[in-house]
């Protein structure tokens, strides 16, 4: 998938999904650990979506109602059938992540959180506290996207957003 950064630099109009825009577009930004994932068929049986259960370790901005939240995204594997959608990066069990979140209606039942900007809104945090994200294509704006960035620097940027 080519993911379009809402920008037209030639017209000096930049509505991109840099850290500032991701933060503003989110209800909450959290650091957590992926406790488990579960793929399900949609109600019409035509597509697969995955629910990831996240244990929230730290709330960077906003709020979440619970210590354990559910994230939903397109794709996943059920039995021998798998679906990948090109701008969606799966959450992996045990993975430590920073997520930009917005609540929404589930493709199944109830309400869940979605990652803002799909793959753009998910950072994986490694043992050296470096935040990395992958799995998306963006139309321009690579210079405003924070990637492979020290976590503390990223958190500072998020917290500075007004």
């Amino acid at each position: 998938m080519v993911y379009f950064l809402l920008s037209s630099r030639s017209l000096a109009v930049m509505i991109g999904l840099g850290t500032e825009e991701l933060t503003r577009g989110s209800e909450s930004v959290i650091i957590g650990e992926v406790e488990d994932t579960e793929a399900q068929w949609s109600k019409d049986g035509k597509t697969i979506f995955t629910k990831a259960f996240i244990v929230v370790n730290e709330i960077i901005r906003g709020r979440t109602l619970q210590k354990r939240i559910t994230i939903e995204y397109e794709g996943g594997e059920i039995g021998d059938i798998g679906l990948k959608v090109s701008d969606v990066v799966p959450l992996e069990k045990g993975e430590r992540v920073l997520l930009f979140l917005k609540s929404g209606k589930s493709r199944g039942d109830g309400f869940v959180y979605n990652v803002v900007g799909k793959a753009q809104g998910k950072y994986s945090i490694d043992n050296e506290r470096i935040a990395r994200k992958r799995g998306f294509s963006v139309m321009g704006g690579e210079d405003i996207i924070d990637n492979n960035i020290p976590l503390d620097e990223l958190l500072k940027k998020i917290r500075e957003v007004r």
Binding site: R9, T47, G117
Partner: protein, 399 residues
């Protein structure tokens, strides 16, 4: 290809370029770590260009052809024709490229594909261009180029991932693109390595591949195609229709080998060559045999070779050619039959190997259509070391 192969391939690519810090192509994997890929050498896409700019179909075909043209890969995208379908992301076994609105949430084009978890085999792949954003086919600065984005999306269809390192800037799979950009329509060497890793050329024997007549005792150049990661080859041959195989050579580099053709007793008409390719760790990658049988020829009777009408009492040259023999030729025996090989009569025995003899056509009482001549090579001990007969029947008629 397993992960070890991929690791080795990546090392190979890095070494090939002389870089130590250059990032390389990345592939999609199942949750079990298997590469997700097509299990055939081609994938057919149907295109619904309605909603795209004029020329979109041609631009998409060009995008597909760019990947198909990679001569180090066996994979081809095929255009299956136009479709009215607007289905996207549905596992219906029909691969489509469509145009349609997808909102203004930033998604310019999407690629959804279905696969088997146990094997990684792709079973459906759909691409959709978001018509909520402007498109062009001429690199217009204010729109997104269909061929440019299409080439990138078809890279995803192969299951190549986006790349983000600054050193990836020139690659088709670089994850950032902009309005008016067209550089992704030309593949970078790393993109080519990506498709070549996922869909390598098979080890493919070119010669001998069936139908050849190979002289015994000669030097014959065995030739083949092979993927980049095939570091060495082992060669075998069979003269008994593949029942048994004789080792020819091991540790062969390159894509050809000068084969010292054996000198069997009698012509061998059911011969095959087998080649096995290995990676740098000696693990077999692929193998191929001659598609059909070829001949190792010790001696060939060249005349009369069938179809002639000869007259009793006249003279006719019997001629033959000989190749390498297991032992020197000491004598030649010439025979003929007039009853389709039921019985053979000796014409003459010759010293040495003169390769020609003037034969007085025997007397017959009626027209004989089941005639053949035969040449037998013998060594100094009288043992047969080669023989051949007319390929087809000739006729002898009375004077």
């Amino acid at each position: 290809m397993n992960n070890l192969f991929k690791y080795l391939a990546l090392i190979f690519v890095i070494n090939l370029w002389g870089y130590s810090n250059l990032s390389a192509f990345e592939t999609c994997q199942t949750s079990k770590g298997l590469d997700i890929k097509w299990d055939t050498f081609n994938a057919t896409y149907y295109v619904n260009s309605k909603g795209g700019p004029a020329g979109s179909l041609s631009a998409i075909q060009s995008a597909m052809q760019t990947w198909t043209d990679v001569n180090t890969s066996s994979f081809a995208f095929l255009y299956g024709g136009s479709t009215f379908s607007t289905a996207h992301g549905i596992n219906d076994g029909i691969n489509t490229v469509t145009f349609g609105p997808m909102g203004t949430t930033g998604i310019l084009a999407a690629n959804a594909f279905w696969y088997y978890v146990s094997s990684g085999q792709i079973i459906d792949s759909d691409i959709k261009f978001n018509t909520n954003y402007p498109w062009a086919v001429n690199g217009s600065a204010n729109a997104y180029d269909v061929q440019n984005v299409g080439t990138h999306e078809h890279g995803h269809s192969l299951c190549l991932k986006d790349l983000y390192d600054s050193t990836d800037y020139e690659k088709t799979m670089y994850g950032y693109v902009s309005r008016g950009e067209t550089k992704k329509i030309i593949l970078d060497p790393d993109d080519i390595n990506g498709i070549s890793y996922l869909y390598p050329l098979p080890v493919q024997l070119i010669f001998p591949n069936g139908g050849e007549v190979v002289p015994s005792g000669s030097t014959y150049v065995i030739q083949w195609n092979a993927p980049l990661e095939a570091a060495s080859f082992t060669l075998w041959y069979s003269i008994d229709n593949g029942t048994t195989w004789e080792h020819t050579a091991s540790g062969v580099k390159g894509t050809s080998y000068n084969w010292n053709v054996p000198t069997p007793i009698y012509n061998k008409i059911k011969c095959f060559v087998k080649i096995i390719g290995y990676d740098i760790s000696g693990i077999p990658l692929d193998e191929d045999d001659s598609d059909s049988k070829f001949i190792i020829e010790v001696v060939r009777l060249t005349s009369p070779n069938g179809g002639e009408t000869l007259v009793s009492g006249t003279l006719r040259a019997i001629t033959w050619q000989t190749n390498g023999t297991i032992r020197p030729v000491a004598n030649i025996e010439l025979y003929y039959t007039i009853n389709s090989g039921s019985t053979w009569k000796l014409i003459t025995t010759l010293e040495g190997n003169p390769k020609s003899y003037t034969w007085t056509i025997p007397s017959v009482t009626s027209r004989k259509t089941g005639c053949k001549a035969k040449v037998i090579l013998k060594d100094a001990n009288g043992k047969i070391i080669g023989r051949d007969s007319s390929n087809r029947y000739f006729t002898i008629k009375p004077l």
